[in-house]
């Protein structure tokens, strides 16, 4: 049985004409001798009547002061895909094909109990396989599963898989069904060298590796979710990214050892994130690591993820997502980190208290806390840790396989951006990419210039 998993995103199923185009892709596969298994997302994107965001809002609007329980929120969100699946299966039926709509649970997708961000633990594919044998086209809800059915506890609670959940469903079903390939249909005709809305000369990449596409996706391109790419990579399932609206061949994503995979040096330019960059001046190098650790600990306890961490002998810098910046600032402003001395120092002081200061000390917590410490200054050093903040940043990334073995990549990027007077606040690199933190207002120019320099010359 040549099973082909075909996943259609929200824009592929948002209107009748689009659903017909999507259905034609399924029928074409069926007529070519494949056994298609369809996965669909909710109809439309944010604002559409059955889109996931709309459904969440419906529940939250009941009383904005009372957040919905995660279990009920998942049940609500799952409705979007259920509606979409029934509509798509019926569309196929009207075109003369035997199709059947399946929820995640009916398709045998078993997850853990982490509502809102569940992980697939197991897929029991027997029912789908039987349907295929009987000539049906199963149409499966993306983004959802159920917990392990239990007579004692609950006969399978509906869960959702979090961001990129429908792509994840597609990849996981591909693995469970031993599919010949998984096709992710979207509104662009493959993985591009840059966002085509910003760069008109962006090219479709015919073949790229799982690692490249995972990196591209993580760095902001919305072609395929990295979780789906990771599943396909770990189980070596061929993945395609194609357009519902064209017959372009799309991008084939394969392992590095696949004969047609090209280990290219430069894959694309991406941009992502609304970021705030914070720099803390810590004068005493001897105590710096202890103070840093407390900053990390405080951020972790508040659920603020930090990245682009940079050390210097007298400073600690890091980035936080802009939506979490108020939390980070509230936490840090006026925060006191006490560091005890092993023995009294030359001035007879037994400890140093570090107090964090934003806005030249004008913020409330510092203004309240600092005078309180006056009383202990006879015995303890009190040291200000001034914070400087760069708001409104974003990251522009060059996806460059193996750049750590290739000299000159950074020089080219730096020269391109600084010649255009685009400030680079910080740099981060991994094995697969180099990212620059730039002002948000310059991001489009930065992407275009880097694409021109690296892909068009």
């Amino acid at each position: 049985m040549k099973i082909l998993v075909q996943k259609f995103g929200g824009t592929s199923v948002d209107r009748h004409e689009h659903r017909i185009l999507a259905a034609r892709k399924v029928i074409k596969a069926k007529e070519a001798g494949f056994q298609p298994v369809v996965v669909v997302s909710a109809i439309g994107r944010s604002g559409a009547p059955y889109a996931t965001d709309t459904l969440i809002k419906f529940l939250k609007d009941i009383d904005p002061q009372v957040p919905p329980a995660a279990r009920e929120l998942d049940m609500m969100m799952a409705c979007g895909e259920i509606i979409s699946t029934a509509v798509f299966a019926h569309t196929l039926q009207t075109l003369g094909y035997k199709a059947i709509a399946l929820s995640g649970g009916q398709a045998g997708i078993i997850t853990d109990r982490e509502f809102g961000n569940a992980r697939i633990q197991e897929i029991r594919p027997q029912y789908i396989l039987r349907l295929l044998e009987q000539g049906y086209i199963p149409v499966v809800c993306g983004f959802q599963g159920i917990t392990e059915p239990s007579d004692e506890y609950e006969h399978g609670a509906i869960t959702t898989l979090g961001r990129g959940g429908s792509d994840t469903t597609g990849s996981a079903l591909g693995v469970a069904l031993h599919a010949v390939a998984v096709e992710i249909y979207t509104d662009v005709d493959g993985v591009k060298t840059a966002d085509p809305d910003l760069v008109k000369n962006a090219r479709t990449i015919p073949v790229c590796t799982y690692e490249e596409v995972a990196e591209i996706a993580h760095q902001g391109a919305k072609v395929v979710h990295p979780r789906a790419a990771e599943i396909a990579m770990d189980h070596n399932i061929p993945l395609w990214v194609k357009s519902t609206f064209s017959d372009s061949p799309g991008t084939r994503i394969a392992g590095e050892d696949a004969p047609e995979a090209v280990r290219r040096r430069l894959t694309g330019i991406t941009h992502t994130g609304k970021i705030v960059y914070i720099r803390l001046e810590i004068e005493n190098a001897e105590h710096k690591s202890q103070v840093e650790n407390e900053v990390y600990r405080m951020m972790a306890q508040a659920g603020v993820n930090i990245y682009l961490v940079t050390f210097s002998p007298t400073a600690l810098s890091f980035a936080v997502p802009r939506n979490l910046y108020p939390v980070a600032r509230d936490l840090l402003d006026g925060m006191v980190v006490p560091v005890g001395h092993e023995k009294p120092d030359a001035e007879g002081k037994i400890a140093t208290y570090y107090i964090f200061k934003f806005s030249e000390g004008l913020d409330l917590a510092y203004r309240v806390q600092r005078p309180l410490l006056k009383t202990v200054e006879k015995h303890i050093h009190v040291v200000d840790v001034p914070a400087s903040v760069i708001e409104n940043c974003t990251m522009v990334s060059v996806i460059a396989s193996d750049h750590r073995r290739v000299p000159g990549v950074m020089a080219t990027i730096y020269e391109t951006l600084t010649n255009a007077e685009i400030a680079i606040h910080q740099i981060a690199d991994s094995e697969m990419s180099i990212s620059c933190l730039v002002p948000e207002g310059d991001v489009e120019r930065a992407v275009r210039l880097l694409h021109e320099r690296l892909f068009e010359q």
């Binding site: 993580h218 951020m299 050390f311 290739v406 000299p407 950074m410 730096y414 740099i427 991994s430």
Partner: protein, 179 residues
């Protein structure tokens, strides 16, 4: 219509990677450099000069970080002498530190996780492994530490992230042709 089949079960397949840290990796024989670039109007052109000189000398650099008056970066230990000579010939002052290693911890969607940095810092601090630099990406945090502390650091990290018994992957820094 068929009746659902519920009796037969497929063997468990691990579809997704575990949440959190799932592996560690070591890259040995790494050096770290601090190059002074000043904080005046010529800072930017000095940084560009620095990158160009190293590119022309065929020396890849990574874990690049920009500070107020300096740029720091890592490179393969084998490239240090050439880098020092190239930078000195351009009048750039570099302080280098040898015999370091990059210890990386890997996790899915690292930037969506909070608390990774404090866990790593705690683990490294507990074995006296000083951090000379860090880098982070969507799936890893890389820490530059003394080469002689690698074994203890890996042990501490594995304990912290419940990876006991799992060996660290080894990575290399073999240089290829210029970009």
């Amino acid at each position: 219509m068929s009746e659902p089949v519920s009796e037969t079960r497929t063997p468990n397949v691990s579809f997704e990677r575990e949440r959190g840290v799932y592996a560690t990796q070591v890259t040995r024989d790494v050096a770290h450099a601090v190059v002074s670039v000043g904080d005046d109007a010529l800072r930017s052109s000095r940084i560009l000069q620095l990158f160009r000189i190293l590119a022309e000398a065929n020396i890849p650099i990574f874990l690049i970080k920009m500070h107020r008056s300096a740029v720091t970066f890592a490179m393969a230990g084998a490239d240090v002498a050439r880098a020092e000579a190239a930078l000195a010939s351009a009048g750039l002052k570099a302080k280098t530190r040898h015999d370091l290693a990059i210890v990386a911890v890997r996790a899915s969607s690292m930037r969506d996780l909070s608390g990774i940095m404090v866990a790593i810092a705690d683990a490294l601090y507990s074995v006296g492994a000083r951090l000379y630099g860090t880098g982070d990406s969507h799936n890893s945090v890389q820490c530059l530490i003394d080469g002689e502390r690698v074994q203890a650091a890996i042990q501490a990290l594995c304990q912290k992230f419940h990876l006991e018994g799992q060996a660290a992957e080894e990575a290399s820094l073999k240089t290829e042709g210029a970009a």
